[in-house]
Chain length 576, copies 2
């Protein structure tokens, strides 16, 4: 299996101690693993080698994708997170995220159709009118209709306020949309009975920028089965993630494109953020899962593959498994702390989402702060885990005989979509720290300090706790002058190093979660010995490794962020 079930059990039950029936959860996770291994893993390489084609206006995909998605639908995996009153299973986000990780580790590009549909269904459930929900929600949760998110246009990706798709009100209460949408994953295919596109567009007369954006449900097919005026104009030829068809769509070009308003006029961006926040956890989880799958594949190879000898060995002695070489162990350890650390982060964020949904406002504020990190850190370091995994296999890892190079190509997308990591940095520093006046950061620091206090009693972990306490104080210390600068209208300077800020806080957060896990692992190891020694020792060693080899890298960054760096503001085309 690509994600260890005992690791998931440790994370969910021992560490996060999620509420609910563990046996139920375990059997759902086992069912996800079974489906993933049987129906997703089998065509991951094939769908990479046979990318979607546009033939006579039809998107052609390999048949295994539909077969897998039908099985996911039959097993109820489109509805596990939806509310019971909408016909869902109402499972907590932690379990939904864990299933997402399991599926993505087997084949993220195929699972993406489900993930997008789940996110779209959630949007409809929260913001849709009763009539729209009545018509579209149930078939989406059944996996009969799929969903897409249509935000970007060719000239407007990061700056969504500049979109130019127009929605004119129509006499029957619906709208007629005109424009085009770019980078639409799952934008056209005939695998589902219908596709519900969730489209951002502007109703004429609204305010400029993002405040004038509205959200519409645009079905691929009308109720009578005839085509709505939304049509594929081209498919993008990507480096990876190829099983997920990605389209340019034209709206209202030849025939009218009918859309139904979701939520209030000009209220689209707020509604879309509901979806994006969840989608950002999804992207982070997918990135973590791909990093995890790469790490496990490299580990298996390193245990089998024999080559070379340890320093000082006799030249005639037999070669050793390459895991015996210190540098291979270093690469595997580094991949482990990235991949498992990223997965822990995503599950922690999912628990915050569950707590927020249950009315815990503080959890919601901490989640808002962490969301850009949950999206960006796994996509940066899950990718790095894939890079290390290739390096463990060396030449073999560079060939298509092993899944490592594909995972690396697939995972590269995650730093780009759902808001580039640069945008995440601006979101974190600009909105979640500066505009929030550091209030969310204080809530986070309090949680970190609680872990520090518990670790202070453990002789082995207390030095790490001290480093973590310093690190979170340093974050607060460098954040204050940035908040001040922003107040004095020096926003450009305040935000100039937002990406480095994102990196640094990300490493602090993951270090904190590693320490928190190490505490649990130690208590479990002391309390019993049910054969999980390797897993528990591994978590403790990973924590030590992260504090020793990873956390210290933030020091110089924080120093530099503390005295804002003007160099990037001096850069221009003529000196580049």
């Amino acid at each position: 299996m690509n994600i260890r079930s005992d690791d998931l059990a440790f994370l969910l039950f021992d560490w996060l101690k999620i509420a609910g029936d563990q046996d139920d959860y375990t059997s759902i996770l086992a069912s996800a693993e079974r489906l993933g291994a049987e129906l997703l893993a089998n065509h991951a390489a094939k769908s990479d080698a046979n990318e979607p084609k546009l033939v006579d206006g039809q998107v052609v995909l390999i048949p295994e994708i539909k077969r897998a998605l039908d099985a996911l639908a039959d097993a109820g995996f489109f509805a596990i997170g939806a509310a019971a009153e909408d016909g869902g299973l109402g499972l907590p986000q932690t379990i939904v995220t864990a299933c997402l990780a399991v599926f993505s580790a087997h084949n993220a590009p195929t699972y993406a159709y489900t993930m997008l549909t789940v996110a779209a269904a959630n949007l409809l459930a929260i913001h849709g009118s009763p009539a729209l929900k009545e018509r579209y929600l149930k078939p989406m949760l059944a996996g009969k209709y799929f969903g897409t998110m249509c935000l970007s246009e060719t000239h407007a990706g990061s700056s969504v306020g500049d979109i130019s798709t127009v929605a004119d009100p129509h006499a029957d209460g619906s709208y007629r949309l005109r424009g085009s949408k770019m980078w639409i994953s799952g934008g056209e295919h005939s695998m589902a009975e219908n596709i519900c596109h969730f489209v951002l567009a502007k109703i004429p007369g609204g305010p400029a920028g993002t405040r004038g954006i509205s959200l519409f449900l645009v079905p691929r097919l009308h109720d009578d089965g005839s085509r709505n005026g939304i049509a594929v104009a081209g498919v993008n030829h990507k480096m990876g993630y190829r099983g997920t068809v990605n389209c340019l769509l034209n709206l209202g070009e030849h025939t009218p494109c009918v859309g139904y308003l979701v939520g209030q006029p000009h209220g689209g961006i707020r509604a879309m953020f509901t979806m994006m926040n969840e989608a950002r956890i999804g992207v982070g989880t997918g990135a973590a899962a791909m990093g995890y799958a790469g790490f496990r594949a490299a580990l298996a190879y390193a245990q089998e593959r024999k080559q070379g000898r340890l320093p000082n060995a006799e030249p005639q002695s037999p070669p050793v498994a390459i895991i015996a070489h210190a540098d291979v162990r270093r690469m595997l350890m580094q991949a482990k702390v990235y991949a498992e650390g990223a997965l822990a982060l995503c599950l922690y964020a999912s628990q915050l989402l569950d707590e927020e949904s249950a009315g815990d406002a503080e959890a919601g504020r901490v989640l808002a702060l962490l969301t850009p990190i949950v999206k960006a850190w796994p996509s940066d370091f899950g990718l790095k885990a894939n890079d290390l995994a290739i390096q463990v296999l060396a030449g073999a890892g560079y060939t298509r005989d092993f899944p490592l190079e594909r995972l690396w190509r697939d995972n590269r997308l995650n730093a780009i979509h759902e808001g580039t990591n640069g945008i995440q940095g601006l979101d974190l520093l600009g909105r979640k720290v500066i505009a929030d006046q550091g209030a969310g950061l204080k809530l986070l620091a309090r949680r970190v300090q609680s872990t520090v206090a518990r670790a202070a009693h453990d002789p082995e972990l207390s030095p790490l706790a001290g480093e973590l306490a310093n690190a979170i104080q340093d974050i607060a210390r460098v954040s204050e002058p940035l908040i001040l600068r922003a107040a004095f209208n020096e926003m450009e300077i305040a935000l100039a190093n937002a990406s480095h800020y994102l990196d640094a806080l990300g490493h602090v957060v993951v270090a904190w979660l590693w320490l928190d896990q190490a505490l649990i692992a130690k208590s479990l190891r002391d309390a019993d010995s049910r054969g999980r020694d390797g897993l528990l020792d591994g978590k403790i060693l990973a924590c030590r490794y992260f504090f020793r080899w990873e956390l210290p890298c933030i020091r110089y960054k924080l120093e530099l962020i503390g005295k804002p760096d003007m160099i990037v503001l001096e850069v221009n085309g003529s000196v580049l």
Copy 2:
């Protein structure tokens, strides 16, 4: 052009002040650029999309590759570096490397056939008997015969001493080889009149390990045009670098495989190192060039592409070119210091090679120390430059409509071939520092200190000089206990963090070269103003950026290397 000609002029003539006729060199570089732009760039995407195929035992390549290589041969580019007495142009390695960079930036996989042939011809020129040279050298230098390096076998890549290909002496003084060779670039095709394979094999009765290895020239065709017993058994399906066919070769399977000894029996590994040291500069240069090409493409895009607004801008104001965004400028600056820094490093190493060839033993010792860095640093950070370039383009960078994703895939090979970067770390720390008792390091430090002394008089650069002086002292300080440990037979502990040592020394060396270039750039800027202000200011700003944002990252690594880390030695399969 993918490599700026004014940058090459700055590096070669202003900074390195290479000897010889600048006009001649400039016209050779211009000719390389012209050929590259006309005949290499045109099929880089096509040969990636149409990888080599094995059809009825024949390797089939797209015809553009042969057309380009024929043009390179006609223009004399197979012979520019060869000695005049062998029929070459006898150009210095600096110019050979600069041409290599120009060609690789346009299409490294096609140029690789030339690079391999040049390296093989050099091996033959140094180690071959007069008779062998007479027969094979001239057609190789004319680009009529191509060359390959056959070192690895399926079970023996990094541990070349374990090869099992056998060479039996034959009555006529030649040898008969039996075995197979893996990962052979250019291993089979019909683009050349012949292929000269340089093959490592063991003559029965020799010592075990690397000391029992001999080197053979194995021609693809006998003098009468009949096939020798070396045959392609399969081609590898790589992620990138696809235009360079990569083969599994069988030797002596059905028909006898005739080989001719090059150099002394059991003297193969030393001969091969001649070639590998040069090839490692070639790999570093190719990696630098691909990073450079990616950086330039991203820069051009960032100047054209309009999206978003600066912080505090009116929402109705027109969108700006994305280069105006601080984070985009940061990414471009980072890509620039990696790509241009890597190229400077490779040219500096090439100058050392020229000096060594002219009898300067000290230059040779510094080069020996730097060679693993010259191979590894550009392959790590040139790749990172490609990664940043993709991120500047975001979604567009992830598609095959732009060259960025291809460059990233191609460049990923460079950390793997010609000795993985892990092997380079062991070479640097084990052979070049520890076995050398730090003597080469002292020679390097003296060169660094000379730059420091010159920079100390410049008010702007003197703080950077101080940091560099500290850094090189820190390297010496952490190296001493490692040398001691090795002396006390604790080699495994001494080498445990060799990769981090390689990273850290690499950053110090590149910082040094940036400071050295900034000094020259400042003196040129003060002395004249011939419209190169942008280039010169760019070098100075890049130097400041590197010292501010890159060099400090070594501090924590050196601290940790100083007190050797046992964590990786505790790692094993059960905790991973």
